[in-house]
């Protein structure tokens, strides 16, 4: 009856989607609309399908059922792996990402200062700590300039100061009409925002 396109102005709209992993249906009946300013915390026990949902929203994984609408270049995805090359310095990684996302040079400066990359800018990936690599990986998300950030455990391995910086960065991105879906087990405080609970249907 209500055929009005409720998804208008949405960056990503998922309707009743189901997704498989390893041949097993891990998610079903998920409906979610992501528009400018939206911030979702994605929670659920191990194996509930948090990563699968993020990859499906990112268009990286095929859904088993349902409809998914994404505007062009709507999102950027950060998985468990950092995508940081051991043999490249942080600076080289940053400029490579700038090239593949066709971003202006100034964006690198912003990423470096927000995520405090400067102390290890000329170190190779191999010599970085897990938390440093994670911060560098998040620079790619900033550099991409995509509106929807799909982040899988973005703060893993980080110290308290870095976690605070990342939380602020995500909250600010959403205030500036961006959006984010953040899967995490940690008690991150983003201020306003909604929670997606993924769990076995009772």
């Amino acid at each position: 009856m209500d055929e009005r396109p409720a998804d208008a102005g949405r960056l990503i709209a998922a309707r009743d989607i189901a997704a498989q992993r390893g041949g097993r249906l891990v998610l079903s009946g998920v409906t979610l609309a992501i528009g400018p300013g939206d911030l979702f915390i994605l929670r659920g026990p191990n194996g509930a399908g948090k990563t699968t949902l993020l990859r499906t929203l990112a268009g990286l994984s095929q859904r088993a059922a349902g409809a998914l609408k994404r505007s062009d270049n709507a999102s950027v995805f950060l998985g468990h792996a950092d995508g940081v090359k051991a043999a490249l310095t942080a600076r080289e990684s940053l400029s490579f990402w700038r090239m593949i996302y066709s971003a202006p040079p100034a964006i690198i400066e912003r990423a470096i200062s927000r995520l405090n990359i400067f102390p290890f800018l000329d170190q190779r990936g191999a010599s970085l700590s897990a938390g440093q690599r994670r911060r560098l990986a998040l620079c790619r998300i900033v550099i991409s300039r995509r509106p929807v950030w799909l982040l899988d455990e973005p703060t893993s391995g980080m110290d308290a100061v870095s976690i605070r910086a990342v939380v602020d960065l995500i909250a600010e991105h959403c205030r500036d009409d961006g959006a984010a879906v953040v899967a995490t087990h940690e008690p991150l405080d983003f201020g306003p925002g909604r929670t997606i609970m993924l769990d076995e249907a009772a």
Partner: protein, 245 residues
């Protein structure tokens, strides 16, 4: 629902068809072998050893036929996502590899009286050998990837790329062979063959084809059963639902 209903209907049909096909294959093979061994002339050049042709040439036909079946099934699985397509492709592979191996072995046995050696780098035989390796790669890929849905799609790509490569491989081997020796010795089939040889050859070809069909149905049922077991063994956890708070 369509996913479930289709294999079930297939099972019913397969259970009925398998004995019929097996009997038909056996009867045709008996007739074929009778003609091949007793009711066809010996070759004036090759003597009695020409009779190996009746087991060799149909095996070589089947080697190509099975790979084509795999390619068609892979294409169908790709485009229409028919649930039985990748089961067909996967089940055909070992049967096709067995026919290819049979073609190689009988070719080698035939070669012994012809060339005085168990293996000559004859163009046909060499192409069949490379085809055998294509089968091995396809089977290895299937068995290496645990996730069956993924394995089906990935193996389909390998199969299709192999399939469009077959004419190129065949051409390159023929061309390579012509550089080093004149004409091919194994001349199975072709319009020059005498009628009395054609009857057993065609009968044997039909027998091989029916054998393939029967084996394929059995092997597909086994694969479907294996998949059901795998599904049962999977964690009983229901798919997650999302609650937005």
């Amino acid at each position: 629902m369509h996913n479930l209903a289709n294999p079930q209907r297939f099972e019913k049909l397969a259970i009925r068809l398998t004995p019929l096909l097996s009997i038909a294959a056996g009867v045709t093979a008996l007739f074929g072998l009778y003609y091949a061994l007793f009711n066809s002339p010996a070759d004036y050049q090759q003597g009695e050893s020409v009779r190996i042709m009746y087991v060799h040439v149909p095996a070589a036909w089947m080697a190509l036929m099975c790979y084509s079946t795999m390619a068609i099934a892979s294409g169908v699985g790709f485009i229409w996502k028919h649930p039985l397509a990748d089961v067909t492709a996967k089940s055909t592979a070992p049967i096709g590899a067995a026919f290819t191996f049979l073609a190689l072995v009988t070719g080698s046995i035939w070669g012994k009286p012809m060339w005085g050696t168990w293996w000559a780098w004859d163009a046909r035989l060499t192409s069949v050998l490379i085809l055998f390796f294509l089968y091995l790669g396809y089977i290895a890929l299937w068995s290496a990837i645990d996730d069956k849905t993924r394995a089906a799609k990935v193996a389909a790509i390998a199969c299709l790329v192999g399939f469009i490569n077959i004419p190129i491989i065949k051409f390159s081997v023929d061309w390579w062979n012509s550089l080093h020796q004149p004409a091919s010795v194994l001349r199975g089939g072709g319009p020059t063959i005498h009628q009395s040889m054609l009857t057993p050859l065609l009968l044997m070809g039909i027998a091989y084809g029916l054998t393939f069909a029967a084996l394929l149905l059995i092997s597909m049922r086994a694969e479907l059963a294996e998949r059901r077991i795998a599904r049962l063994e999977q964690s009983a956890r229901a798919p997650s639902k999302a609650m937005i708070l």
